[in-house]
């Protein structure tokens, strides 16, 4: 390979090639790039290798083909939040606008991949409210809570930020392909891995660390005991990022982790206003549009605002229902009605918007 062919490759190309090497993890990459400029660091790491230059071109083509921006530590577009971070990534790969990472206050919404509908609802509502208040919602694009938070945040206001583990050429999880595109087009998707690197297991804790470093506050919406959110919370506490948790039922396994966090001193996030307060944005500075607040009443506003619902002749059925879904057997026992009458009552309540079918179980709306 001639010298002219390689001379037009920018330093980002060498950094990407260095990051693509299987033997180099984030810590080693940071050390190498702190010691030498990318081109020199890459040449040193590849001494004796014949096709080293071809590998650089290949790595660079991969990033540019997909429109991935490579941001090196120290460059102006490198997020200021990471400047003082002890484990700051030496290279960031971004799909979308990297400026989003520094523009606004950020709040991470994280949690289990197998949430309840309660968790999904809260995550989506917080996502929408925070985005509308001008806060960029940070999440991991995983199934469950992460996805729900971004679903709520996309297009609701401030641009969303997604932090993923693998290379940006590879949508993971596949199910979030459309959400992935929406986040990339309205906000930014960040990764420490260059395109071409598969999503390996060890990269998730690394991703969680970056996610914590990019956030001003972290809210765990739903989490099992010792769930994956633990890494994020630990990383946040190391960095002094405030951690909040959404309280849940003591009977729900998916709230074990969040309730334990509350017991450990995390601030309770009972509405999106609590998250804004933790961001020191205060109640007055917050511009949550009124229709959003009314359209999605948070737990705090629900009791006060609504008039008591009138279930009419289905009052006994309504009284037997609660916010927790209950099986029909239990409702038969509580109401003493036969199954047909009970089901009829439930369907009438559903038509009036007072009850909801949750996979054969029923709950109040």
């Amino acid at each position: 390979m001639s010298a002219e062919a390689t001379s037009d490759l920018p330093p980002e190309a060498y950094a990407a090639a260095l990051a693509s090497m299987p033997s180099i993890g984030p810590a080693r990459l940071r050390r190498l790039l702190a010691a030498d400029p990318p081109r020199l660091a890459y040449t040193r790491a590849n001494e004796g290798s014949d096709n080293a230059v071809a590998a650089v071109q290949r790595a660079w083509r991969r990033q540019t083909e997909l429109g991935i921006q490579v941001v090196l530590a120290g460059q102006p577009s490198y997020p200021a939040r990471l400047a003082d971070d002890p484990q700051a990534p030496a290279v960031l790969f971004c799909l979308g606008d990297p400026a989003v990472l520094s523009e606004r206050p950020t709040a991470a919404l994280v949690g289990t991949r197998a949430p309840t509908r309660y968790g999904i609802g809260v995550a989506a509502q917080f996502g929408a409210d925070l985005a509308a208040a001008g806060v960029s919602v940070v999440s991991g694009l995983a199934l469950g809570i992460d996805g729900a938070a971004h679903e709520g945040a996309c297009g609701a206001g401030a641009p969303p930020i997604a932090v993923v583990a693998g290379g940006l050429d590879h949508v993971y999880p596949r199910r979030h392909e459309r959400l992935w595109e929406r986040v990339a087009s309205t906000g930014v998707i960040v990764s420490e891995s260059p395109a071409g690197v598969p999503t390996e297991k060890w990269r998730f804790p690394v991703r969680n660390r970056l996610l914590a470093a990019l956030s001003d506050v972290i809210v765990v919406v739903e989490s099992r005991h010792l769930g994956g959110s633990r890494h994020t919370v630990d990383a946040a506490m190391d960095r002094g990022v405030p951690v909040g948790a959404v309280p849940g039922s003591i009977r729900s396994a998916t709230s074990e982790g969040t309730n334990a966090l509350l017991a450990d001193g995390a601030f309770p996030a009972c509405c999106s206003g609590d998250v804004l307060l933790a961001l020191a944005l205060g109640g007055a500075a917050v511009t949550v549009p009124p229709q959003t607040a009314a359209g999605r009443p948070g737990p705090a506003t629900m009791v006060a605002g609504d008039p008591a619902p009138d279930p009419g002749r289905d009052r006994p059925v309504y009284d037997a229902l609660s916010a927790d879904p209950a099986p029909l057997d239990e409702l038969v026992r509580l109401t003493g009605l036969d199954l047909a009458e009970l089901c009829g009552g439930l369907e009438r309540l559903a038509q009036a918007g007072l009850a909801r079918d949750a996979g054969g179980w029923w709950e109040r709306t």
């Binding site: 991949r113 197998a114 949430p115 309840t116 509908r117 309660y118 199934l143 469950g144 739903e222 729900s252 396994a253 998916t254 709230s255 879904p325 099986p327 029909l328 057997d329 239990e330 038969v332 026992r333 199954l339 047909a340 009458e341 089901c343 009829g344 439930l346 369907e347 009438r348 038509q351 079918d357 949750a358 996979g359 054969g360 179980w361």
Partner: protein, 513 residues
């Protein structure tokens, strides 16, 4: 058939010439019998040829191993019965020779043909009779499977069978069945020296004793109701619930809710059980709907039927006119579940092998039970510990077309502990069975379809519009709602009936991917 021919050349020749020929050079006897192919009998003519030559015994005409071994059984049985064995050349032909013959049921006709050919039995004594039975070395006559099908195939001839099989064969052949306990009894009866032995009297038929009763089930309003609706409308039922929610207990009690079989159904059920070699009750006729519960490790062949060429009926056919219960549906091999789709659709199963194609009846009521996910806790939101991928993999095992065959998909939950310990016993089976029988009568009498009340029709229409119901789903809910109305003896399908029908398939949300 049933003719005894003596082509002894000495008969045809004139007396002076006959004296030049050694007697019994060549004797032929032909006896009617039948062999089993799948669940059907095929008539077989057993020809025995005894001629001069080196002593030997050959069987030709596509015999299987069991038939070839008849040589040794027949010889021992004849000698044990104190009858003469010819020291001559014996050839047995099983005609038609192109059809494979299996099983030991041809022992008896071979022995009888041989005895006729050797002159131990008078010529013509087998006229109008067919023989089926296995021989023991001591000359006893033993049971052969598929006696009903064999009797079908030998009709209108009289049939001689082992004494224990008389009742079974008599289900189709009536008075024309005779039995014998040993070869010696048989020869004496055929010679006219003794009468045919009477079959042992059957003890009083045990009245549906083994059936479990619904009264044992506490709580479980939804599960009990699902059984009732399934029994009344012949709706296939899938129960989804965590371990310990009583899925198996409920399924076992469904048989007690079905009305007894009609004479025609009972004969069809008995015929297929007989062909499969299942033990039949004392009175030989199975008059209760069968309940078959194959294990999830059962092979596909054992489920749908087959075999290299013997083409035995499988569990789906044994469950015909009754219940096929598949516990742990998610653990069955996917191929086995997909093989159920034809019988569910058409009520029969066609088994094709190199040796031929057989159609078995398979009109069963499918009842299945499964956990919502591998850990079993999936119905309780938030308590499932399976990963998303594990759950998705588990759900993929039940294909959408198979799930669509279930009219009723009910989510079960563990019963309330208080209700379990101190609750009053549930409604006993015989009361529910009475309602089921009445609903079935009402449904057949009212072949025109029950009308839907306006609000009920509107409820289903709104579900259809909201996308919560597919066109096929609507058809299923409509059928179930009519059954619910029939159980309530109502003229029209009310809002409550339609709501209940919707609830009885709400479990789809738990397993539909």
């Amino acid at each position: 058939m049933g003719r005894r021919e003596q082509s002894g050349s000495e008969r045809r020749l004139s007396p002076p010439l006959a004296s030049l020929v050694r007697p019994f050079t060549c004797v032929l006897a032909s006896v009617a019998s039948a062999t089993l192919s799948g669940a059907l009998g095929r008539p077989v003519s057993v020809e025995v040829h005894v001629s001069n030559g080196l002593p030997g015994f050959t069987i030709v005409g596509l015999p299987d191993a069991a038939v070839r071994e008849a040589r040794d059984r027949v010889r021992a049985a004849v000698l044990s019965s104190g009858l003469a064995w010819p020291l001559r050349r014996v050839t047995v032909n099983l005609a038609p020779s192109g059809v494979r013959k299996g099983g030991a049921g041809l022992d008896l006709p071979i022995a009888v043909g041989l005895l006729v050919a050797t002159g131990e039995l008078p010529p013509g004594c087998t006229e109008g009779l067919a023989f089926c039975g296995e021989l023991g070395l001591n000359g006893s006559l033993r049971h052969v499977p598929g006696m009903i099908a064999l009797a079908d195939a030998t009709a209108p001839l009289g049939l001689v069978v082992p004494l224990g099989d008389v009742r079974e064969a008599a289900l189709v052949s009536g008075e024309e069945v005779r039995g014998a306990a040993t070869l010696r009894d048989l020869t004496q009866a055929l010679r006219g020296q003794a009468g045919w032995p009477e079959p042992p009297p059957s003890s009083a038929a045990p009245a549906a004793a083994g059936l479990s009763d619904l009264a044992d089930v506490r709580g479980q309003a939804l599960g009990r109701r699902a059984l009732e609706v399934a029994a009344a409308g012949r709706h296939h039922l899938l129960m989804i619930g965590p371990p310990g929610s009583g899925k198996t207990m409920l399924a076992e009690r469904l048989a007690g809710l079905l009305p007894p079989l009609t004479a025609e159904e009972a004969l069809a059920v008995t015929r297929i059980h007989s062909a499969a070699g299942c033990a039949l009750p004392e009175g030989a006729l199975l008059d209760r709907p069968p309940f078959r519960a194959p294990h999830h490790q059962a092979s596909i062949v054992s489920l749908v039927g087959g075999g290299s060429w013997s083409l035995r009926p499988g569990e789906v056919s044994l469950a015909t006119n009754g219940i096929l219960f598949l516990d742990e549906l998610g653990e069955f091999p996917v191929a086995a579940l997909e093989a159920l789709r034809q019988p569910l659709e058409e009520g029969v199963i066609r088994v094709s092998r190199a040796g031929g194609t057989v159609t078995f009846p398979a009109a069963f009521l499918l009842v299945a039970a499964m956990n919502p996910c591998p850990c079993g806790e999936g119905v309780y939101e938030g308590s499932c510990r399976c990963s998303v991928a594990t759950r998705a993999r588990y759900r993929r095992r039940i294909s959408a077309p198979l799930l669509d065959r279930f009219d009723l998909v009910v989510p079960l939950s563990r019963p309330d502990p208080d209700e379990l310990l101190s609750g009053t016993p549930g409604e006993p089976s015989h009361l529910v069975a009475r309602r089921v029988a009445a609903a079935r009568v009402a449904a057949t009498a009212r072949s025109d379809e029950r009308e839907f009340a306006p609000d009920a029709a509107e409820l289903l229409a709104s579900k259809l519009r909201a996308g919560g119901l597919s066109a096929r789903g609507l058809q299923k809910v409509t059928r179930v709602a009519r059954t619910v109305a029939a159980l309530a003896d109502a003229e029209v399908v009310s809002f409550a009936h339609a709501s209940e029908a919707l609830s009885l398939r709400a479990g789809r949300a738990v397993v539909a991917a």
